[in-house]
């Protein structure tokens, strides 16, 4: 027993030593976090990067939403902060300020392609052909009826517009930690709100206040939205185009403004609810953490994010080669 005690004491001392030794050791794995939309693409690139570059370790990719990614990214400079933040929207001024305050001054934006946001419902249900104004009218807390702002009276999609199915309104949207939410807000809700023509003197949040009884905010991944649809087949969910494409057996997609969401319609600019995807690189970590530049180049290479590349197979909508070349040049030139 006494021997065991001495052994334990030795082990504790050793563990303490190991802990201090860790301070000195510099990280040699690229650390990425952020948008759950970008996560599948970034994970694939990370894996392929590890396989293609034997001298670098496979980067580690975390999620947490675009906002969560930026808050980790802007925590400071050093081994225990992430190197790259994935984002499904451009960085906000407030986030840049937070970054600067923490000493993260060299932020390099890299756009690598597009994603579309789709409205999808259970495959067994009726078809939906939505327009932004219909979605806005279905979910806004207050809507305009006869020129006055009244509490939302609609209970079924058919009441919003006769062309829609007679199905109770229920919409699962991503919560505000997701970049998807912003695109949804901007391209669908705000667009619909403007079209609806609010009366003079309407409160400022008239465009952004949702009815809590029909709108479910999902803070998790799209699988959570899918689970919501499975438990209540009347729900219409907001998904990424790539997620929908992987689950066409259970989901049915709605058209927006009469356009069927697809890679082609997004690239052509016909489908309104699409957005560019980004990742942000901490310039100060280039040179300290090995492989960051190579990772960026590899990510933007034709075999990954290019036309016909691996990411396209995973649902990314590639941007033109000229655009990619421009972005890569800007990245290599340094801080903007």
């Amino acid at each position: 027993m006494r021997n065991a005690l001495y052994a334990s004491a030795a082990v504790i001392a050793l563990a303490a030593f190991g802990t201090t030794a860790a301070f000195a050791q510099s990280r040699d794995t690229i650390q990425v976090a952020g948008s759950s939309t970008v996560l599948p693409f970034a994970s694939i690139v990370a894996e392929e990067f590890g396989a293609a570059f034997p001298e670098f370790k496979t980067p580690v990719v975390g999620s947490g939403g675009t906002g969560g990614g930026f808050s980790q990214f802007c925590a400071g400079v050093g081994d225990n902060t992430i190197d790259i933040a994935n984002a499904s929207r451009p960085i906000k001024a407030g986030e840049t300020e937070a970054c600067t305050a923490a000493g993260v001054t060299d932020i390099r934006e890299v756009q690598f392609g597009y994603d579309g946001i789709v409205f999808a419902s259970a495959a067994s249900g009726p078809d939906f052909a939505l327009t932004p104004i219909q979605v806005y009218k279905a979910i806004a807390a207050n809507v305009v009826v006869d020129g006055a702002l009244v509490p939302n009276p609609y209970t079924s999609w058919a009441e919003v517009d006769a062309s829609l199915p007679d199905q109770p309104i229920a919409l699962a949207v991503p919560a505000s930690n997701h970049g998807t939410r912003e695109v949804f807000q901007e391209r669908v809700v705000t667009a619909g709100c403007e079209e609806a023509g609010l009366p003079e003197g309407a409160p400022e949040d008239a465009c952004t206040a949702f009815r809590q009884d029909v709108v479910v905010e999902i803070s998790g991944d799209y699988t959570e939205t899918l689970a919501r649809l499975n438990s209540d087949p009347n729900t219409v969910g907001v998904f990424g185009l790539s997620f929908y494409e992987q689950n066409t057996d259970t989901l049915k997609v709605a058209t927006v403004n009469g356009v069927v969401p697809s890679k082609e319609s997004v690239v052509a600019g016909e489908y309104p609810v699409s957005r560019p995807l980004f990742f942000y690189v901490k310039g100060q970590h280039i040179g300290t953490i090995p492989g960051i530049e190579e990772y960026v180049q590899f990510f933007l290479s034709e075999q990954m994010a290019g036309d016909g590349g691996i990411l396209e197979a995973a649902g990314l909508i590639p941007q033109t080669a000229e655009k990619t070349a421009e972005i890569l040049a800007a990245f290599e030139a340094g801080a903007q």
């Binding site: 027993m1 006494r2 005690l5 334990s8 004491a9 082990v11 504790i12 563990a15 190991g18 802990t19 860790a22 301070f23 050791q25 990280r27 794995t29 650390q31 990425v32 976090a33 996560l39 599948p40 994970s43 694939i44 990370a46 894996e47 392929e48 590890g50 396989a51 293609a52 570059f53 034997p54 001298e55 370790k57 496979t58 580690v60 990719v61 975390g62 999620s63 050093g78 081994d79 225990n80 992430i82 495959a123 998790g220 991944d221 799209y222 699988t223 959570e224 899918l226 790539s242 997620f243 992987q246 689950n247 066409t248 057996d249 259970t250 691996i310």
Partner: protein, 454 residues
């Protein structure tokens, strides 16, 4: 006279009846209580059975994988690359390493998909019509890495044909196993009609066969090649964490309990400490995660996503459990044992370490194993210290990035390819449950064995 007799008889009859009624009531009460107890047990077991049946029913299919047996030709026409550098041609080891790395990168940049496609076409029936993109959806995307690694390991394969087993893609596996409804129309299917037909032809001619999915145990997680996603990385991450928990929590916990129970003077302070330890045991695990993120990562600058931080956080969580259990065990030791030891002239330290602790050993061991099993299944604190990241490598040290088994379940649960990952998630749950049952089994076995000895 007869009157008095009959009243007495009447009275005794009444009494008997009263007693009988009372007895019936008491028996009824007992029957009801027993029935309720039994119902509670049946209900609890029923839920456990439901859970197990559901998980096993979903998970078992994931333990079969679809293999593609291909004859891969390393065609020099497709693989235009300089010969591999030889050590003798270089003056120093460093130059050779640089040249070798450059060569490996050149090899990696070759279009290995062409090689995969050629071997798939070679296996297909002659009259099949399918385009490149469609045919490549049949093999998992890591097939080209497997083949490339074979070539890097043995560059002399150029021009030769080798039999290789690669995995069929996740979508192909879904089609073969019927995870996706086979009657759905083209628009709702993941694979194109020619690819589905070719898969069926491959199953027919034996190119595709099903086998036990060793890949679950031997591979790390993968998103690029979902069919090859395995638990090895998460398992090793969990093992590292549990080692740290055992190494730190057991000695510290037992020492703390022994000191508090045997040496510390009874005072307000020790009472306060005792109350706080009990409180700590009830603190939700996510709070420990926040603490870990603040102290170990932000203040001590330990690496994020590393098992060492996870291990330390879980140690904090497990400590109260071990301290409380050890104190309980120490309190249970008969005073006669202590007095006998002291009476024979042993010091208090000798009394504790020679006589008291050995008796409590089985209880401490059980408490440790149960504490570790609890820590094994803990997920919430790990999410907060970055251990839910996607890690595609096996952590070689506790300082490397890793995930853990329960976190892997969480990650797979969120994967986009629902048809493939729902069974995989259940399979991961089965592995985790198996490890837990094993640990608890060991605890029970050791306890009964050691108690007999003691």
């Amino acid at each position: 006279m007869t009157d008095t007799l009959s009243t007495t008889r009447q009275a005794s009859l009444d009494r008997t009846q009263r007693i009988r009624a009372g007895l019936r009531r008491r028996h009824l009460g007992e029957t009801i209580f027993r029935g309720l107890g039994l119902a509670a047990i049946v209900l609890a077991l029923g839920f456990v059975a439901l859970l197990f049946v559901d998980v096993v029913r979903k998970g078992v299919p994931a333990f079969t994988q679809s293999n593609l047996h291909l004859a891969v030709t390393f065609d020099p026409e497709l693989l235009k690359v300089d010969p591999a550098p030889v050590r003798d041609a270089f003056a120093s080891q460093a130059e050779y390493t640089a040249a070798s790395l450059k060569w490996q990168r050149d090899v990696a940049m070759l279009n290995w998909n062409k090689v995969v496609e050629a071997s798939l076409r070679a296996a297909a029936p002659a009259d099949v019509e399918i385009d490149s993109r469609q045919i490549l959806t049949i093999a998992e995307t890591d097939a080209r890495h497997d083949i490339r690694e074979m070539f890097v390991a043995d560059p002399s394969l150029l021009g030769q044909t080798v039999e290789v087993d690669v995995l069929a893609s996740a979508n192909a596996a879904n089609w073969i196993k019927g995870n996706i409804d086979r009657s759905l129309g083209d628009a709702q299917q993941q694979l194109s009609a020619p690819a589905r037909a070719l898969i069926d032809a491959f199953v027919e001619n034996g190119t595709i066969s099903n086998g036990f999915a060793w890949s679950i145990f031997t591979n790390v997680d993968s998103r690029a090649a979902p069919a090859s996603a395995g638990l090895l990385g998460a398992f090793v991450g969990t093992v590292w964490m549990m080692l740290i928990v055992i190494i730190l929590a057991v000695p510290i916990g037992v020492a703390a309990a022994v000191y508090l129970e045997e040496f510390a003077p009874r005072s307000r302070w020790t009472d306060l400490i005792e109350v706080n330890i009990n409180n700590l045991a009830a603190v939700p695990s996510i709070v420990f995660g926040l603490l870990g993120a603040a102290v170990f990562i932000n203040y001590l600058h330990l690496p994020i996503s590393a098992p060492i931080v996870g291990g330390l956080v879980l140690t904090l969580m497990t400590l109260p459990t071990i301290i409380i259990a050890t104190r309980g065990a120490l309190q249970g030791v008969s005073p006669a044992l202590r007095q006998a030891a002291l009476g024979m002239g042993a010091s208090r330290t000798q009394m504790v370490f020679h006589h008291v602790l050995p008796v409590t050993f089985p209880s401490i061991l059980t408490a440790t194993i149960i504490g570790v099993a609890q820590a094994l299944g803990e997920t919430a604190p790990l999410l907060l210290i970055g251990m839910k990241a996607f890690v595609a490598s096996v952590p070689l040290t506790p300082l490397d990035q890793a995930t853990a088994l329960p976190v892997q379940i969480y990650l797979w649960q969120g994967n986009e390819n629902r048809n493939f990952f729902e069974p995989r998630t259940a399979a991961a749950i089965m592995v985790l449950l198996a490890v837990m049952i094993l640990l608890n089994g060991v605890a029970i076995y050791l306890r009964s064995r050691l108690e007999k000895r003691a």
